[in-house]
């Protein structure tokens, strides 16, 4: 009876990194989006928000690409 712990480790590690990355990007994006309304540089805030949302989408698409490519 051998259990492939390393594969399980990979699943756990990758999931943790990807999810935390997505969550931080998305929350930061929303934070920047709401900063547009509370004064300060609208252009900078918009750019940051769009960048964050774009990065989220790219991360998800890259993940799906990895699954399909095999």
């Amino acid at each position: 009876m051998t259990v492939d712990w390393s594969a399980l480790g990979v699943v756990s590690g990758v999931s943790l990194a990807v999810v935390l990355g997505l969550v931080v990007l998305f929350a930061t994006g929303l934070r920047a989006w709401s900063a547009r309304e509370s004064g300060g540089s609208v252009a900078a805030a918009t750019a940051l928000a769009v960048g964050c949302f774009g990065a989220c989408a790219a991360l998800v698409l890259f993940g799906i690409h990895l699954i399909v490519a095999r």
Binding site: V11, S15, V23, A27, L30, E37
Partner: protein, 377 residues
């Protein structure tokens, strides 16, 4: 019974199982979105159906796990697979009627293992493979999803403290829809595979395919369509338990919970772990409940669910063993098993018709709960 006729019967039974799986599991991907009002129930279910279809076409790793080595394909016949399948379907329908989010996947493994064990002996079941690819992931994956969801929820709330309420509300509802979509895709990559695996296994046992073959295209396509149809037509009853019964869900939390569960499932699918998507989704919801507030999980409900999880494999195994034994007796046995399976399905369907839970009811229930909370506050 003519072998090719039996193969056809098994293929249709497997597709029926796939259909009930979609029926059973709509809740996993869409419960949180429906509960927070991010999506209307009908829209949610339609999106979920399409993405299940797409997900089913993405990967065949899990199918290969099932067709290539959980049981000894040289020592079982299509009749045994048939018995195992009927066992799984019966268990699935009964837990569906009771509103328990038990695992379709574990029902399938239980049924298959039970039927193989009783008809060909314990050594025809490859327990090492079962342990590595099914049992250990079954325990580990929901825990991983729970821990990841806990951290993700905590971070989400922490980072959005200074986000305006309006942006937070709308933004996380959109985020939640995206994560629900991912969850449906993930469900397709793991659960539709199980049917593909079973059909491929049947074709191998019948000598139509060589051992170790990947699922043929028609198998992949038909399994994908069956799960999508089942998803579209299914699941209000369980959405009921999972959406509000377990823990009260807010949009940011639903977003964190589902992103976690979907990621864990897709990573696992890629490595061929045949997970229970139900368990992983529940693990994610519970973890996010804890991440939001320490007393955010109703442990009584969670305990009852865990109990149903533990029982699924052996219970479906018993039913599968019985059905597999009878089915392997010959034509009369196969017909008897088929009749019992159909009878149970009809009875459950008739019982469920007496008190139908429709999408409208799910929404009403949530509105009523919200009102109750306002009264209490």
């Amino acid at each position: 019974m003519d072998a090719s006729l039996l193969v056809i019967v098994v293929v249709f039974t497997a597709l029926a199982f796939d259909f009930t799986n979609g029926f059973h599991d709509t809740a996993n991907s869409m419960a949180t979105s429906i509960a927070t009002g991010a999506l209307k129930p009908r829209t949610a279910v339609a999106i979920s159906a399409v993405l299940n279809l797409v997900g089913a076409l993405l990967s065949v790793e899990v199918a290969k796990t099932i067709s290539g080595g959980v049981v000894d394909d040289a020592r079982i016949t299509p009749a045994v697979v048939f018995g195992g399948l009927v066992g799984a379907i019966v268990w699935n329908l009964v837990t569906w009627y009771a509103g328990l989010p038990s695992s379709s996947s574990h029902a399938l493994f239980g049924g298959l293992i039970g039927a193989t064990w009783i008809s060909s002996g314990a050594d025809a079941v490859h327990f090492a493979k079962v342990l590595d690819k099914v049992v250990v992931p079954a325990v580990v994956a929901p825990l991983v999803a729970g821990v990841v969801a806990l951290l993700a929820t905590y971070l989400t709330y922490r980072l959005s403290r200074r986000t305006s309420e309006r942006v937070k509300d709308r933004g996380f509802k959109v985020g939640q829809i995206a994560s629900a979509a991912l969850m449906s895709l993930a469900h397709g990559t793991n659960d539709a595979q199980k049917t593909m695996g079973i059909i491929t296994l049947t074709l191998i046992t019948a000598g139509t395919l060589a051992p170790g073959s990947a699922p043929p295209l028609w198998v992949v396509l038909s399994a994908a369509v069956a799960i999508a149809l089942g998803t579209y037509l299914g699941g209000w009853r369980i959405t009921h338990t999972l959406g509000k019964g377990l823990t009260t869900i807010e949009a940011p939390q639903g977003f964190a919970a589902q992103t976690s569960a979907a990621t864990v499932i897709m990573a696992s699918s890629h490595l061929g772990f045949a997970l229970s998507t139900t368990h992983v989704a529940s693990g994610g919801i519970m973890g996010s409940g804890l991440g939001r507030q320490v007393d955010g999980v109703r442990w009584g409900v969670a305990g009852r669910m865990a109990l149903a999880w533990v029982f699924t494999l052996p219970a479906a195994g018993l039913v599968g063993a019985l059905a597999g034994k009878v089915a392997s007796l010959g034509t009369v046995g196969v017909v008897a098993v088929a009749l019992v399976g159909v009878a149970v399905s009809v009875v459950v369907w008739l019982l469920s018709r007496r008190e139908p839970v429709r999408p409208e009811h799910v929404v009403d229930e949530i509105a009523a709960q919200a009102q109750t909370r306002e009264v209490a506050a």
